[in-house]
Amino acid sequence: MADRGGCCPPMDLFRSEAMQLVQLIIPMESAHLTVSYLGDLGFLQFKDLNSDKSPFQRTYAAQIKRCGEMARKLRFFKEQMLKAGFSTSTKPGAETDIDLDDLEVKLGELEAELIEMNANGEKLQRGYNELLEYKLVLQKGGEFYASAQRTATAQQREMGSQQMGDESIETPLLQEQETSTDLSKQVKLGFITGLVPRGKSMAFERILFRATRGNVLLKQVPAEDPVTDPVSGEKVEKNVFVVFYSGERAKNKILKICEAFGANRYPYAEDLGKQGLMINEVSGRISELKTTIDAGLLLRDNLLQTIGEQFEQWNIKVKKEKSIYHTLNMLSLDVTKKCLVAEGWSPVFATKQIQEALQRAAFDSNSQVGAIFQVLHTRESPPTYFRTNKFTSAFQEIVDAYGVAKYQEANPGVYTIVTFPFLFAVMFGDWGHGICLFLATLFFIVREKKLSSQKLGDITEMTFGGRYVIMMMSLFSIYTGLVYNEFFSVPFELFGRSAYACRDLSCRDATTVGLIKVRETYPFGVDPAWHGSRSELPFLNSLKMKMSILLGVAQMNLGIILSYFNATFFRNSINIWFQFIPQMIFLNSLFGYLSFLIIVKWCTGSQADLYHILIYMFLSPTDELGENQLFPGQKITQIVLLLLALVSVPWMLVPKPFLLKKQHENRHQGQSYAPLESTDETLLSEANHDSHGHDHEEFEFGEVFVHQLIHTIEFVLGAVSNTASYLRLWALSLAHSELSVVFYEKVLLLAWGYNNVIILIVGIIVFIFATVGVLLVMETLSAFLHALRLHWVEFQNKFYEGDGYKFHPFAFALLEDEDD
């Protein structure tokens, strides 16, 4: 890393940590342990050296399959535990070292046991439900069996007696036929009893009637409570039915229909005495079965409990092992087949820790040879790694969401920690709302430890993750609220007396010409006299628009200065002379000058029209300024600045491509006579790195020129559009204060004016809901979004490239976050 400049002392988080490509040669017997210790350490990002192999061709595919099986068993256990209502204990428990083979065997045993218990339980449960239904049939059957049979035998006797009588013309023909057959067979009435689901009972009845041509008697009685159906296991409303039939064919039809409708049939004894016995027997069997089922459930629950105690531990172990084998699959086998070669990125500061881990692993696995640690030199771009803590990680994530920083370029995250909440606060300014937001986020921060181990919903998780961002936002909002002098839109005279008073004692002109400034300027913030006045909006609009321009120009200048630091760090002097300087000149000669004019106008109280000045600076720079003169020598200054701006545009555009071309030619002048490669590097690393080796890239002049043209146009046009974009600071701040005023005056004060307690309470409730819903939630999100946009586009496009990739080490700690 010799070509890095060091203009300033190093700052945490400003540039990525120094990363190096390391090669580890690990003997086979200590491979597993080594990877395990490196996973504990979490500072190495392994490169996949077997990327051309499919997952099934890799060395440890079988082990991964085993781990997958074990994971499946663990998921099955978890399902069963959830069904039975157990929760897995989140305590890590005793950290006993579990051997993977033992665990596999144990899991297999437990699974078989659990499946068997479940099957038995189901069988018993089904029998139990059938017995319950049978008992119901017995109870209900007795109620109507007697009456039904009486009706049926009466009918039969009737038919029989009719048959004895003379045949009259009225007797239906069919009836004759049937009775004659009946007589010949002398069949007794048969009956079937059972339960049919209530929803199907009408259809059941109809089909029975049709199928047997009306020759059955069906009686149904609804069962009061829903009954658990033995087959489906759900509670269904059922009717107890009894069907009286005669004949074999009818019986078969009825049986088939019962099966089709899922009506369960149960035998029913005709004899009254037998009925009583049956009921007692069935009741006895039911209670027996219940105790058996309960005992079975108890046994299963015990088993699930023992599993639950160790579940987390096993889960973690299986996940760890699976990840270790995945990592081992990425290592390549050395030619001698006695050791594995690993390549990976790691931060330079972790070198010692990695070497220690390697030594420990070699010692613990009783291997004779230690692992070899070697740093490789490569032209590949390393991953970007920032060491963040719980406070800075949220801000870094915001920056990374747009693009991960290129290796060792300046990290906008450093300034984002302050400027992002600040710009949010400029748009949100109300210290009452700021206090509410602060209390809300304080709740999250105080219960940090507890909430971080819980599983939260999506939105709550996002809010919790950004708790420090919101806290900063709320603190700055309290400050800007004091500056704008708005407490739920009400101003206070906290810092001294208002500067304005009536022109004379009678205050006649107060509503026509207005007040005058009698004292010193109000020392901190906006004077409270402005609130509610007719000229409040023109004043505040002018103030906030100019403030937005000033803040915007300041932030854009910061962005360009950061590009200077980048150019210095990467020793890119072309960028300093032909990009940084013309950009600074262009931006500041136009918009820096505008900012200067704003401040001068404020300081002198002149009535000059700034629009007019700036526009005519371009249209007719040599004209006399007249009443728009803010300072002596203004005309000359403007002409000079205009010329500087005009010169800086070709300065940005033209020289750089030519200089890059010359630079490229200088670098590759002696290429054809390159010396032989030094024999220090191993053959392995050469084979790997030749592909990303020297930049024998061609220099396309046309492409570079077009790239520079685009960059220049983007900057020049962007200078105007980005500056105007900062006016959103004004727009949102205006919206926030207007909403706040409306809710206060039109809800709260209106309710107060009625002098009625109920209306007041309703008014207060509406005010609270409106404030929380619209101002605290919607406006927060809105201002957050716009502040974010200002950072991502207007600030970062001055210097940020953001085309790096993030450092993603192999670490067990990260694993747990991933899988869940």
Partner: protein, 70 residues
């Protein structure tokens, strides 16, 4: 006058805040530089906002015109 005094107050507060951050969390030179940068940036931002609002009110071009019924 009021402007200079308050600007001085801002800078004093900034210096005190940097000293406090150095005392409370002294974690090596690079981390200290980061904390210093953050404190200075925050102080400058807050001062800029106050200064803009103050200067804008020093020599006003329009005055509050009260609305009816105040």
């Amino acid at each position: 006058m009021g402007f200079l005094v308050t600007t001085l107050i801002f800078s004093v507060v900034g210096i005190i805040a940097s000293i406090c951050s150095r005392i409370c969390c002294n974690r090596g030179p690079s981390a200290n530089l980061l904390h210093l940068t953050l404190v200075i940036t925050a102080t400058v931002c807050c001062w800029m906002m106050w200064a803009i609002v103050y200067i804008a009110q020093m020599k006003p071009l329009i005055v509050p015109i009260l609305s009816e019924g105040e």
